[in-house]
Amino acid sequence: MTTTLPQPRQFVYRLSDNLRDETPAFGVRRSAPSEGEREELLLSKLGAKGWGRLHHFRNFYSAGWGGGTGKPLSPRALETFYRFLESARFPETSMPSVFLTDEGTIELCWEDQTGKAVQVEFRPSDIELYLEADEVEESVPASEAKALASRLAP
């Protein structure tokens, strides 16, 4: 006596055509850094004082701070600041100072290896730069934060 096995089903699960994504994967995108990674970044680049000051600015300075016209820390300026920090290196003898401006932007100040001032202000769409050694005052687009950090590295 012989029996026949049932025909195997070719497709157990079938994705409907409208859910298929035929777009080829062009690359892998790095996910945005977590809050914890950013805290680590701040601590490693600016020390406990810089980390604490940024925390202070983010949590206590709401619109109208100071005499009534102070603006809260700009989220876009903060993003640019983090991108800069990822690639930034500072002279071992000059830990940068971090300040909040009345416009809600972030200012980073340190001295180069000859003791001359280096100042960078992170604004929502650009970065203002001052180099005392060359008497240079200029601004670059926020998208060039990493390139600027490399340029200023000792």
């Binding site: 100071g66 100072s97 971090v98 300040f99 200012e107 100040c109 001052y130 005392e132 008497e135």
Partner: protein, 126 residues
């Protein structure tokens, strides 16, 4: 009418512009920077005036008062790479009758020179 080069003016320096080591150049950057005249109100009285007006939020503390002579301020402006004639104009306010402003637009580089020339006063011991 601009105030005399002989006068001395002060600027409040609070937590956001002072980290215990450096003062922020943005203290003097931009237009209409506020200062206060020591010829009208003595330094000792400025501590209470600045505290009551500017310590907002309460975590923002008056850390230093920066003092500069008006003539010295003008000299720094004239000697800068891009010379500028700075003036200080009286602009009394309800909360501070000694209030004055520097109307010219001060760049970051020039502000850096001015901040470096400030005489910094610590809060008086209680």
């Amino acid at each position: 009418m601009p105030i005399s080069p002989d006068e001395d003016v002060v600027r409040a320096i609070l937590t956001d512009k002072w980290d215990g080591q450096r003062a922020s150049p943005s203290l003097f950057k931009g237009q209409n920077v506020s200062v206060s005249r020591l010829a009208i109100i003595p330094l000792a009285d400025h501590w209470d005036i600045f505290r009551s007006r500017l310590e907002n939020p309460p975590e923002r503390r008056l850390e230093r008062i920066g003092e500069i002579n008006v003539g010295r301020l003008q000299e720094i402006g004239r000697d800068y790479a891009h010379p500028i004639e700075l003036t200080v104009e009286p602009k009394p306010e309800d909360w501070n009758r000694a209030h004055a402003e520097i109307p010219q637009n001060i760049t970051r580089g020039l502000a850096n020179k001015i901040v470096s020339a400030l005489k910094l006063h610590k809060p008086p011991a209680n």
